[in-house]
Subunit: 106 residues, 2 copies
DNA sequence: ATTTTATATTGAAAAATTTCAATATTTAAA
DNA sequence: TTTAAATATTGAAATTTTTCAATATAAAAT
């Protein structure tokens, strides 16, 4: 059970999902592992730009890379996604009755 | 059941989680609805900056605002969080046997 | 050995985001 | 009806992110 969730770490994880091209990339990975050249074929970005996005996705822990000879194979990390889901689930607010709610320092 | 998930929409939702101050804000909201002045007391940002972050959080659908006289009360939207969780759950890749996996356009 | 292929890195420009001071707006208090 | 309090908006600076051309690296093919 993760106890100390730090803001920096969470923000790095979720950077995976806040760019449209990265969402497109993740969409492609839903059907399974893909190598960079295949991902690139289905996007309108340059090869260095793809490389940059894959780095952000890997840094977030949402994607993992498997290097095989010349090729970089990318896939979705179930552990990474599970961690992100776990954080979102922690956002379920503890129900506080509306009467108890304190207001504005007073 | 959401069918057409568009990349722009998803990226706007997850922008909520990719800034450290916004994570701090969400952390405060876990214990229930808070008004802007209380949130501000616990952050090291100016009032206009908080206002800016609250707009991003509301635009994402993760936070909802309730205006009561002078005060803006913010809380976590369970529907918003549920939608985000639902997207993350859709990232579970369909298992494809490693033998079947096609590689690099060839 | 040289060339080709797949990917990464560097450096710089463009675009987007974050931030705050100043100011506006709206409501409550005096 | 002035004044104060809570929040929003505007405009500009600082920072970060996105992007691509050029180049580097590393492995495969010739």
């Amino acid at each position: 059970m993760e106890k100390l969730i730090d803001e920096r770490k969470i923000s790095i994880i979720f950077k995976a999902f806040c760019d449209e091209n990265r969402i497109q990339i993740l969409k492609q990975l839903i059907t399974g592992e893909k190598c960079a050249c295949v991902l690139l074929d289905n996007l309108h970005i340059s090869q260095p730009t793809l490389s940059h996005h894959m780095k952000i996705l890997c840094d977030s822990g949402i994607v993992i890379m498997r290097k095989e000879q010349k090729w970089a194979h990318y896939s979705i990390s179930q552990e990474g996604v599970a961690y992100a889901i776990n954080y979102l689930q922690s956002l379920t607010p503890i129900n506080i009755s509306k009467e108890d709610k304190p207001c504005c320092n007073k």
